[in-house]
Amino acid sequence: MYAAINSSTLHGVFGAPITVEVHIGHGLPGFAIVGQPDEACRESRDRVRAALLCAGIEWPNRRITVNLAGAAERRGGPTADLAIAVGVLVANGEVPLQATSGTAFLGELGLDGSLRPAAGAAPLAFSAEGERVVVPSASVEEARLGAGLRTVGAADLREVIAVLKGLEKWRDAPRGTVGTSSAVIPDLADVRGQPEAKFALEVAAAGFHHTLMVGPPGVGKSMLAVRLPGILPVLDERAAFEVSMVRSAAGLPPQSPAPVCPPFRAPHHTSSTVSVVGGGSPVRPGEVSLAHNGVLFLDEMGEFAPTLLEALRQPLEEGTVRIARARSAVELPARFLLVGASNPCPCANEQVTGCGCTPQMRHRYLRRFSGPLLDRFDVRMWLTRPRTEAVMSGERDEPTTVVAARVANARAVAVRRQGCPNALVPPGMIDEVAPVTGGARTVLEERLRRGDLTARGYHRVRRVARTVADLRGDDDVDEDHVVVAIGLRREMGRR
């Protein structure tokens, strides 16, 4: 008559456990789902009925009520199909109640009773309650990222019924490599010349400082950005877990083995704000969340919609995206390293002292970035065409591994000191982490007095100076570090 089955529902990138209650009683034959089901879940009525019929089960011609109980605001999604189907079976007496206890069911049903993979297997399985989580076999690898060895797979509804009836055992899920392996990151040595930019990138990677590169086309802005994940420190277990969860929630194939390299996302400049920031119904993570713990690269940043760029300010500041709706608010992780690239002017034709564009045209072009947004870039650099000799020579600069080792070292020092990268040091701690004394103080004071540095700039420069000192292996921030940090924060579009 009654059954309660564990399942879970997706809320942004996090799963939330729900209980699917099924009651079969007297009354006019019908099938109703209550408990704030979402659109996909309301459709599951038809899918569940067809799937059960295909599995050779007689549909109970009685009054069936399904209730989704749980903390999430909107419940369901297509992955509640399996739990509803099992609930109907239990409530109808086809399957003993004990067989389902301690087991959570996740999966979308096809009309033929097959189990289909759906987005978010990893966070769903992670949050599902019980010592066993049943998922579609195609999703096992992904679900295992969240639920580990609790995960078991099933190919279709028939198999689930057979196991629940005690006729078969849960199949041991195959342990193999499914999904895509992490992409190969090209080597930094492929980029010829550009010592200034490479140094800036190294600083950005070590301190997690947002970076803006401005330069004519063809100087290697994109080449440098693509190589940034390679020099970033590898992801620790927790960060890798977060990356996997977001990927899964976004419906991307899992990376196997678990990702160690920070993600790199480069949305095109015509992308919509929602696709980059996240949103939709149900709320899906956007590019900023997919770049969580990694790099978000905006090539031709001036061509992005201004509203999109402004929408990035909140995640840049807080490391999360909060998407509030009338009924609920969803928080998506979005702690990413923003790398912007832009041409210096509309014509983008470089000569020694510039092209035909007047300073006003350049100014207007770079003014597409608002002051508050520009302010969030700790490292802003101008790139120039590399020297012909550098391009032509077979000589290779430092490879990624060498730079990555220095970066990892500097990052380790910073994390040991304050528990986070230098860019994320809370304002209250900066005096302790990067005290300015002696010559460094004189330099900063002079720049502040002359108006070269704003108050925010002052605080950001101190963080960059700390990173520079860490990279050079120095304990204290001295004058040289501050001078270099100021030099890495070039003015854009003002003269």
């Binding site: 020694v352 002292t353 040289d480 001078v483 890495l488």
Partner: protein
Amino acid sequence: MRHAAGLAALPLQTPGRLRRLVKLGDPSSTWTRIMDGERVIPGVDERVWRAWRGCRGLEDAVAARCEDAGISVTWVGGPGYPAPLLGDLRGPGVLFHRGDLASLARRRVGIIGTRAASRAGAAFARRLGNDLALNDVAVVSGLARGIDIAAHRGALVAARGAPVAVVAGGVDVTYPPEHGAERDEIAERGVVVSEAPPGTAPETHRFPLRNRILAGLCEVLVVVESRARGGSMITVREAMMRDVTVLAVPGSPSMPVCDGTNALLRDGCGPVTDVDDVMVALGLVTGAHLRSVDTRRPPGANEQFLLDAFCGTPRTCEELVIATGRERFEVGVMLGRLEADGWVAHDNGWWEALTA
């Protein structure tokens, strides 16, 4: 005075017509005759006369506007009309001005150049403007971006001298918008002049016209940086027509902004590398001229080494790393120090050594 302003503000007015009108004699009687339907000058279309006759009362409106903005008016033959423009065959018939026209009684040197100036060019213009002002010379320029404003700023820094700005639009129209403060200070210490009545927008065709007045007001014209074809070259041609001495500042042949000035030098213009060159051209014998003092902190030995590596052209950081053989971090530190002390400037990824 208000009739002269009214004549300048008539619709379909051109500098040539205005000049002929003013030359007829007293502007007020000319005004009355036009309003009474007399065709006072030949060769003007009936359409124009009709439009002009409909402008009764315009002279009062313009005069009120001038008074509100503190703008005075003078005309050929009128009180205070600058003497250097009197003999000018294409001089402005009417001159609107804010400030003291007596500034134009001093020795006058024009400093002009491109709006897209290099940092080094702007720095030189600034120093030259400052040095000339220190020697009590009136620095004449166009208040434009780049070289013009650098020269004006340099002149304003000096405690002496009277700066002169010749603008294309109305004297009360701030163009470019960011130069309002400089315009006001020039009006206070020197004079801002224009042939356009107040409120006139700085339309494109007014700039070449402005350049002829600028050229007419100078005794010596110095071109600091200019492309081969640019507004500065129009001023140069106007100056040559008026027998004004044109001098040019030599620049690196690798920089397009120096093409024009280098071409002038090739054609026989005198070079300017220092204020003395200009003073000689003015006929003021060189010797104990006042000049600005380089107050910059002298660079250290390492920094001097880096400065020497520039060899007079803009360099990228990469080139400096290779030229000096130093580590990029070290070069970054040195550039930062030199920049803070004003020895080098950064622009679009290029570094320039500043001579002053």
